[in-house]
């Protein structure tokens, strides 16, 4: 009986500690969303207090008086198009590398993997000049290509390890039926790779949505860039309009929150599979 009671108390104590930590972890996000609905005066007067009413002026200002709407559109285009391009290009390469196992595909694989070690800082300065040379400076095509290029190494790593687990017999049967390699890949193999694709899409999509340094450098100054870059600019420019910046950060966080709640398992799976493969 006492042992049972002791165990019970232990469990409750554990819960209490976890709840306390959860509050600490959640507070900054709650604080951000809450402050977005407060006026500047309210924020300065008492940062912890709940908003008095639903103050929406900062959203209104941000969406009508600034470049923020165009930044939102840019962020959406960059994220969506880059992700679609990654899915069209990278899985094929991973599949061919795994299935056609020769010396040259092995070399290409190592060549791709080497890219995972190269930090963006190591090539950002010439990249800037190169995009200008190709006439890609100032368009969204530049950053999209850079995002696809940056995802090749990790993407191929993920896909090769998953293609390994797909029995070859299915493909052989289709081949005997006269299906081309291209058809075999897109009609038979690619649908089986759904979970990897989902993990790559959510993790890379998030990385692009949140990216700061690359779009800041590569998109032309004087024009709206992406949400995150505009938020950074506003922090410098409107340093006393905190209400407005909070509204901006809230608008950048809420879509992430929604996608996360909807696709939670793919985030977790992506991390776990990425981790075991390094």
């Amino acid at each position: 009986m006492t042992l049972q009671a002791k165990k019970r108390w232990g469990e409750i104590a554990l819960l209490a500690i976890t709840v306390l930590l959860a509050i600490i972890f959640f507070f900054p996000i709650f604080f951000n969303l809450m402050s977005a609905f407060k006026s500047n005066a309210e924020i300065m007067k008492d940062a912890i207090a709940f908003p008095k009413g639903l103050y929406l002026d900062s959203f209104k200002y941000l969406l009508t008086e600034t470049d923020f709407p165009r930044a939102i559109v840019n962020s959406l285009i960059l994220t969506l198009v880059s992700i679609v391009a990654q899915v069209l290009i990278i899985p094929m390469a991973g599949y061919a590398i795994e299935r056609r196992d020769t010396r040259w595909t092995k070399m290409v694989f190592l060549y791709f993997l080497a890219g995972m070690m190269i930090p963006f800082q190591a090539y950002m300065i010439p990249l800037f000049k190169e995009l200008r040379m190709f006439g890609l400076y100032g368009s969204l095509a530049g950053p999209i290509l850079v995002y696809v290029a940056g995802a090749v190494g990790f993407g191929c790593l993920l896909y090769t390890s998953f293609v390994k687990g797909i029995p070859k017999e299915i493909e052989e049967a289709a081949e005997i039926d006269g299906c081309s390699r291209y058809g075999i890949f897109w009609k038979i193999v690619f649908p089986l790779l759904g979970p990897v694709t989902a993990s790559m899409v959510v993790l890379n999509g998030l990385g692009i949505w949140n990216d700061f340094l690359m779009p800041m450098l590569v998109l032309p100054s004087g024009e709206p860039k992406t949400m995150v870059v505009e938020i950074y600019r506003y922090i410098g420019e409107f340093s006393s309009r905190w209400d407005m910046i909070f509204a901006g950060t809230a608008m950048s966080v809420v879509p992430v929150l929604i996608v996360f709640i909807a696709l939670q398992k793919y985030f977790v799976k992506g991390i776990a599979s990425g981790a075991t493969k390094g």
Partner: protein
């Protein structure tokens, strides 16, 4: 997408020698787009960096002058670079330690707690999904000297004497960045540790418990050693991401006060784009690249060894 044409009547024997050749051209076609984009937008500019690191290019003019190892000699001698390297080292070591300790703690809690397990896991994980800019701004607001929540709480609980300018005071700026980054990063490693914990057979702990081992003893002698695999991965991942920290610094301190929080990644950006010394900036970037390469090579060696053991 190609359409599947069914040609059953085709003789099988004729198809076999042809198949290999066909495969070869397909493999090439499948790999080519990735190969081209990756080569053009990662490898070519990286090669460009190697070249530029031996020049005194300012980033704008046509004047790209070869100056040999002068940039690297300057890196070797410059007190500002030494300071940035020291800051990078302090930040990386503290982050690797704190993030992993926090992550193991969170993973054990989430694994052990009886109620709302998934909710807790999500709450601890969510901060990792925020951009460094957003998260840095929110923390800068929380830690603000005059209006920040943190100082307000300190005041309210009678610790008014602790109130300081967390980001403006050279003594505390680094710690503030480190702790807010732990808040952001720990959840990611928690997921990896959690997967590791769930791979430990429950019988081990049960047996130890019957033998009279306390909770802590079980953790010390069973859980902790069996987490070694997850730990190798987490240590390397956290080390590399700590070396690359940029966004938080840009928003929270801009490398300041003075040069207190200027790290290697930040000085590369400042020197290259702020001070227009891109030759020197790329030389610094090469140093960062070499450090990351070294860590990765060591990691690959370690992982290989572990695989052999298993």
């Amino acid at each position: 997408m190609a359409t599947a044409v069914t040609r059953i009547d085709k003789p099988l024997t004729a198809a076999i020698p042809k198949k290999k050749k066909k495969w070869q051209s397909y493999a090439l076609l499948f790999i080519l787009p990735s190969f081209l984009i990756y080569t053009l937008f990662v490898i070519v500019p990286t090669a460009g960096s190697i070249y530029l690191s031996f020049t005194s290019w300012d980033g704008i003019s046509e004047d790209v002058r070869y100056i040999g190892f002068a940039n690297f000699v300057e890196i070797w001698q410059s007190p500002r670079v030494h300071n940035a390297l020291k800051n990078t080292l302090v930040m990386t070591v503290s982050l690797v330690l704190l993030e992993n300790i926090a992550a193991i703690m969170l993973a054990v809690l989430v694994d052990k707690v009886r109620w709302f397990r998934n909710l807790f896991r999500s709450i601890f994980y969510f901060p990792t999904l925020l951009s460094g800019i957003v998260m840095g701004f929110v923390w800068a607001m929380i830690l603000n000297y005059n209006f920040g929540v943190f100082n307000q709480i300190l005041d309210a609980i009678g610790l008014g004497s602790w109130v300081v300018d967390w980001l403006g005071n050279p003594k505390y700026a680094m710690i503030s960045i480190i702790l807010s980054t732990v808040w952001k990063g720990a959840g990611y490693y928690m997921i990896i540790y959690l997967a590791g914990l769930q791979g430990i057979p429950a019988e081990l702990n049960e047996a130890a418990s019957i033998d009279g081992a306390s909770g802590f003893q079980q953790f010390r002698h069973i859980t902790f050693p069996l987490l070694a695999g997850s730990m190798t991965v987490c240590l390397v991942l956290s080390m590399i991401s700590a070396l690359k920290i940029f966004d938080q610094i840009a928003v929270m301190t801009d490398g300041g006060p003075g040069f207190e929080t200027e790290t290697l990644t930040y000085i590369i950006y400042k020197v290259g784009f702020g001070e227009l010394r891109q030759g020197f900036g790329t030389a610094l970037a090469m140093v960062l690249f070499l450090i990351i390469m070294l860590i990765t090579v060591i990691q690959v060696k370690f992982l290989r060894k572990r695989e052999v053991q298993m």
